[in-house]
């Protein structure tokens, strides 16, 4: 290839096994800078496992993962040729289905903890960034609340701010609205939509087909540990090639 742009994340021949269970099979995938890659597929098809391999929360059983052209190693520290898991995770943020906010810290501290501990930012610097991010997600007034006092939608917006505080190059989002009451889904999706408009590179696993359709630049459909189909949202959602994808999608047209 003579392209000058390295993929943000590149996955080659990735396999993941949990004991005898073969969860990911020969996955090849590039996430390009600025791209919003949506991942859809039935439960158990390996979507979460794939996205968790992208920041090495799960270590692949075989295959390679690269970040901006640099192979990712197994150790925490970066070495000569390899980028370590520590640096990878600093630069690839993640938002979880169940928020995983730190309950012993206030909203503000949740957002500043990473920058202070990992990036060694001063408290003042981290707070300034955090307050700007909390303003963006509409939660400035909650800065001194503890997570237990927030609604699900508010928690997830804090979690997004927490990830963004590290100024990541890529954001991984795993079904970030599926633990929310329906009326709270919109406020979180709006935040993500705005990030997409601002050019944030994202990989998002989602069951929100309408959202995937208008936010993702590309969709992949996973089935039994493989990427079964890939294409523009229009192609994948409205012109499915396989019977499996067709029957999967039919469940969402209500």
């Amino acid at each position: 290839m003579d392209t000058t742009i390295d993929p943000a994340i590149s996955v080659r021949q990735l396999n993941k096994r949990f004991g005898a269970l073969h969860v990911l099979k020969d996955i090849d995938l590039d996430v390009m800078p600025g791209e919003v890659l949506g991942i859809i597929g039935p439960s158990g098809s390996g979507k979460s496992t794939l996205i968790r391999c992208m920041n090495m929360l799960e270590a692949p059983s075989s295959g390679t993962l690269s970040f901006k052209g640099r192979p990712v190693g197994r150790r925490f520290r970066s070495a000569a040729g390899d980028i370590g898991t520590g640096e990878l995770r600093r630069r690839v943020g993640m938002v979880f289905q169940h928020f995983n906010l730190f309950p012993h810290l206030t909203v503000l501290q949740n957002v500043t903890k990473g920058p202070v501990v990992v990036l060694k930012q001063s408290a003042a610097e981290a707070e300034a960034t955090a307050m700007a991010l909390l303003a963006e997600v509409g939660l400035e007034s909650k800065r001194d609340e503890y997570p237990a006092h927030l609604s699900g939608g508010q928690k997830q917006r804090v979690a997004i701010a927490r990830a963004l505080a590290m100024k990541p190059d890529v954001l991984l989002l795993d079904e970030v609205t599926s633990a929310l009451d329906p009326e709270l889904v919109g406020e979180v999706l709006n935040v993500i939509r705005r990030l997409a408009e601002n050019g944030m590179t994202m990989v998002l696993v989602t069951h929100e087909m309408a959202f995937a359709a208008d936010t993702a630049s590309r969709l992949i459909f996973m089935e039994a540990g493989r990427i079964a189909e890939t294409g523009s949202p229009d192609e994948v959602l409205h012109n499915p090639k396989s019977e499996r994808l067709r029957s999967f999608l039919s469940r969402f047209h209500a």
Partner: protein, 220 residues
């Protein structure tokens, strides 16, 4: 009808105070050393390195499944024969109290750490924290809160366990009470007073543990 007479016993009150002081020192000393031993054992139990896990588990079971009194007597009378030099009663007593409580603390610490949701560690690692940073900033602060009531209860038991040091003539409260008794021939007053003193020491602590536990349950 028994004629209570605390007067003679009160005349030896300084002995009781010395006893309380020694009880306090052995309690605090063994809680500190036992805390460190227990934390080390807890981390060893959580380690990925199997020999470390097995060693810690063995230590815990040996100390949890033998009576403390036997441990103390063993360290004072038997261990010197093994190692070839005498061990003072202070050393033997402090050591066994510490290792004994450490074996229980290890279980409390391990339980507290395991009780912290795995999602917490994932979130910490996901912002790039190391395993150690995660422990220090995310897991331990939450684990400490969860383990506090059990830790206090175990420490209350530890105060009472120092009375076993009587057997190797360490002048803690129980031993001192026996001294007062032998000087005054007033066993009822002497031992009643000792009981009252232990109670006065421990009752506030158990109440504190209860309050903590209730407050924790409310904040969950």
């Amino acid at each position: 009808m028994y004629h209570w007479d605390f007067y003679v016993v009160f005349q030896s009150f300084d002995l009781f105070l010395w006893g309380i002081w020694a009880t306090f020192l052995y309690t605090v000393g063994s809680i500190l050393i036992g805390g460190i031993v227990g934390l080390a054992a807890a981390f060893a139990r959580l380690s990925r390195f199997a020999p470390l896990r097995i060693a810690a588990r063995t230590y815990q079971e040996v100390f949890r499944c033998t009576p403390l009194l036997v441990q103390i007597l063993w360290a004072y009378y038997a261990l010197p024969l093994l190692v070839g030099y005498t061990i003072s009663n202070t050393t033997a007593g402090l050591l066994m109290l510490s290792f004994y409580v450490g074996s229980f603390y290890a279980e409390i610490f391990r339980g507290g750490i395991n009780a912290v949701d795995k999602g917490q560690t994932e979130a910490a690692l996901a912002v790039g924290m190391s395993g150690l940073q995660n422990m220090r900033h995310i897991v331990l602060p939450q684990a400490v809160k969860k383990m506090m009531p059990a830790f206090i209860n175990q420490s209350v038991i530890q105060v009472k366990n120092t009375s076993l040091l009587y057997a190797i003539s360490i002048p803690e409260l129980t031993y001192m009470t026996a001294v007062v008794n032998s000087e005054t021939y007033r066993p009822l007053e002497s031992f009643t007073l000792a009981g009252v003193m232990y109670f006065a020491l421990l009752f506030p602590l158990t109440q504190f543990a209860d309050v903590l536990e209730r407050r924790m349950r409310r904040s969950d």
